[in-house]
């Protein structure tokens, strides 16, 4: 073994290098305040390793980025942990960079002859922030998409070259495949490469000039190994423990709903350490953003870079330390204001809740047996009745109708209810209410419509109220049979169980006793169409789609139709949209199997 090592040493000289590395002098002995640089090297190494492994599974294009990240997070072995480690170590790195900078400035380690080393550190800080910015977009979820749009739009206000700069960064006029390939190349190639080069320079210069000891020295000088190495290792372990705690608590990193340029995302916020910049922009009126987004941060960075010179003056060092504290306090204040504004804003809370709901739904659909279509996961939510139904209902239906008293999205519309509440439409319970003399002319059913004075209300209030005992017993059966026409998912078990009841009910419904067939048609029985809505297939998908398409058709209300538009014939909604509303009202959407 020794011979082998000697052989390698003669050819590489590694022993000298190792000796220099381990027995570098630590003036005044090992101290905890010297660990920060090592924790940063540790974090960067973790990022390189986890990043390379993530690279094995990541696919940068607008139809595969979210999908591959979803696959890493939810399907691959330990993928959530790997991704979480990358995500939270990045955040730890930002915090540690600030601590390292503070320690360097407070200890005066930026002064001559260490100016260049200090500047290389400032460049490393900016490069690391560049990694955060570019990495945020890569999952191609709503959050990354909208937050990064803000960043690239700010790039466009750069004086003189803004729009061209933006096009180059975005890889075209709008976000797409080339935005991802460019951001990925920056994130995984260009910036890390630059960081490695600057770390090499930074560590070389650090070794050249030696450590800046914190005076007074408490102990005699000692070697880096083993006391300082142990402290560094313990500090790295502490960082790792915090990161792993966060990874486990959040079960990896968040993945929002797939990016959709047509879908509002009011919860767009940058990563927490950029929140101060986000907040800062609120204070610059239209047209002056360039001051807040570019000039002011640029000036602050210039002051930071000038510190080695300022430090030469009599009170320069105190100014530098004071400046850093003031800057940190300013960042802290702005961050706090941003957080506080969001905390007190119910709209933001609602937007976050909606974002979380969409994200969970997108993932549930991605895991469904149908999987993700080749058009990408963005199609999943676009074609999902549970997601789109309420939105379409709120937009097109809720100015008259209600769903469980609200507009489908849980909001109270400003108009009064003037048409039926469609929660549970065509279920046995809903129909029982419709045929209840006490309820039929309530706002829940016909109360707000012109049918309030119509034949059906009159029939229920007079004839149904006067049913004899036999008819009263037949009515629920008939309603069960009518409800079964809808073939609702929620009543599937009920309908299968009650075959005898449904047969009797269908007979009763078609019979003369109840009086339904005096106006309605039910399969081969009853009046011809044109007098009242067809009860054949009542509430089924086909019936409901055609009804929404044109309620004034002779199969439905005919001339008696009140104000309801023919959404299909007038092209107010597309056939796909009508299908989504109908599916949602009928409770027809994919439900993940319970584990």
């Amino acid at each position: 073994m020794k011979t082998l090592l000697d052989w390698a040493d003669q050819r590489t000289g590694y022993k000298k290098l190792l000796h220099e590395t381990l027995f570098e002098n630590v003036p005044g002995g090992a101290r905890w305040r010297y660990v920060w640089g090592s924790t940063l090297v540790f974090c960067f190494t973790v990022q390189v390793i986890t990043g390379l492994f993530l690279w094995l599974a990541y696919s940068p294009s607008s139809q595969t980025a979210w999908e591959s990240v979803y696959y890493i997070q939810h399907e691959m072995w330990g993928g959530w942990f790997l991704r979480g480690l990358h995500h939270f170590t990045a955040q730890a790195m930002t915090v540690l960079l600030v601590i390292h900078l503070m320690q360097v400035v407070i200890d005066g380690a930026y002064k001559a002859p260490r100016e260049i080393n200090f500047w290389s550190g400032v460049v490393l800080l900016l490069l690391t922030l560049g990694l955060s910015l570019t990495g945020y977009l890569l999952p191609w979820d709503q959050k990354g998409f909208w937050a990064t749009k803000v960043a690239t739009n700010i790039a466009a206000i750069t004086p003189f070259v803004g729009p061209e700069l933006q096009k180059i960064v975005v890889g075209g006029v709008d976000y797409g495949h080339h935005t991802l390939t460019r951001f990925f190349a920056l994130h995984a190639g260009v910036i890390p490469g630059a960081i490695i080069a600057f770390i090499v320079a930074h560590v070389y210069l650090f070794r050249k000039h030696g450590l800046t000891p914190k005076e007074p020295r408490r102990r005699p000088d000692a070697a880096f190994w083993p006391d300082q190495v142990l402290r560094d290792a313990v500090a790295c372990l502490a960082v790792l423990v915090v990161v792993v705690f966060l990874v486990v608590r959040h079960h990896g990193a968040e993945l929002g709903a797939p990016a959709d340029p047509s879908e509002q995302f009011s919860a767009a916020r940058p990563e927490w350490y950029f929140l101060f910049l986000f907040e800062l922009l609120k204070y610059f009126p239209g047209g002056t953003e360039v001051w807040g987004a570019i000039v002011l941060p640029g000036l602050l960075m210039a002051v930071l870079a000038a510190m080695p010179f300022v430090g030469n003056w009599k009170l320069g060092h105190r100014f530098n330390v004071g400046f850093l504290w003031v800057m940190l306090a300013g960042v802290g204040l702005l961050t706090w204001r941003a957080v506080k504004a969001d905390r007190g804003n119910p709209d933001y809370a609602a937007a976050v809740a909606a974002a979380e709901r969409d994200a969970a739904r997108a993932i549930a659909l991605a895991r469904s047996p149908a999987g993700i279509p080749p058009t990408g996961a963005v199609t999943l939510l676009r074609t999902d009745a549970l997601t789109q139904g309420p939105k379409l209902f709120a937009k097109a239906c809720a100015s008259c109708h209600r769903y469980d008293g609200h507009d489908g999205l849980g909001v109270q519309p400003k108009d009064k209810i003037t048409a039926s509440d469609l929660k549970g439409f065509a279920t046995r319970a809903w129909l029982a209410g419709l045929l209840d003399p006490a309820k039929v002319d309530s706002p829940h059913y016909f109360g707000g419509t012109k049918q309030r004075a119509g034949k059906m209300v009159k029939f229920v209030k007079e004839d149904v109220a006067a049913y004899d005992a036999e008819a009263k017993a037949e009515l629920p059966k008939a309603l069960a049979a009518l409800s079964a026409e809808a073939r609702l998912k929620s009543q599937r078990d009920l309908d299968q169980r009650d075959t005898a009841l449904l047969a009797a009910g269908a007979k009763a419904l078609a019979g003369a006793k109840l009086g339904c067939m005096d106006c309605h048609k039910f399969h081969d029985d009853g009046e011809a169409l044109g007098t009242a809505p067809d009860l054949t297939g009542y509430g089924s998908r086909e019936w409901l789609i055609n009804f929404i398409g044109n309620p004034a058709h002779e199969r439905f209300y005919g001339k008696r139709n009140d104000r309801m538009p023919a959404f299909g014939e007038e092209k107010q909604l597309t056939p796909e949209e009508i299908g989504l509303v109908a599916d949602w009202l009928r409770g027809e959407w994919f439900e993940p199997a319970l584990k």
Partner: protein
């Protein structure tokens, strides 16, 4: 922060602490340094090895052609379109491979996977010679898929696939790929 185990011992002037304390410090530095160094690689290895958990989905038999499109005699090449599960995507009706179909007597059909069992190249049918030939390493196969030339590098005949002729002349094939380079026909 990897710390080499066999580092040279400290120079005498640094050894102010007793040996025992020194040793514990070194051991702790190596142990903790090693522990923090392995976390990221271990997390990554799981994802790296994830493909080992993936099993090939046996495709149900698919309609490949009709007897009307396949006169008796020479084999003809047909694409096999099926539902492809590719990581997160499940795409119906896309190419998953190809087969040579040959119509035999009594409306029977023989189906051979076009992939050469040697190294996975796409074999040609040479009409002039009336046999299959692999353009990569010159393996040749007879019409029934058997190895024609004993010097062929292919370890086994062309892979025959289950085929069924249904009702009005529909040819249904149960498509499958097999491991290349081995004597046995092992599904992948």
């Amino acid at each position: 922060m990897e710390t080499p185990r066999n580092a040279p011992s400290a120079p005498p002037d640094a050894a102010v602490a007793p040996d025992r304390r020194e040793f514990l410090t070194k051991a702790a530095a190596v142990a903790i340094g090693g522990a923090v160094a392995v976390a990221a690689p271990i997390a990554g290895m799981c994802v790296l090895l994830d493909p080992l958990r993936r099993k090939s989905e046996v495709n149900a038999s698919v309609l490949v052609a009709t007897l009307a499109a396949l006169p008796e005699g020479e084999p003809k090449k047909f694409p096999v379109l099926a539902t492809k599960v590719d990581a997160w995507n499940r795409t119906p009706n896309v190419p998953v491979g190809a087969v040579y179909l040959q119509r035999l007597k009594d409306n029977k059909v023989r189906a051979l996977n076009v992939v050469c069992p040697h190294a996975g190249c796409f074999v040609d049918f040479r009409a002039a010679q009336g046999h299959y030939h692999c353009p990569c390493h010159d393996s040749s196969f007879s019409l029934d898929g058997k190895i024609l030339d004993p010097k062929s590098p292919s370890p086994r005949p062309l892979d025959e696939l289950p085929v069924e002729v249904r009702g009005d002349g529909q040819i249904w094939v149960t498509f499958q790929n097999f491991r290349a380079g081995v004597h046995e026909k092992i599904p992948v």
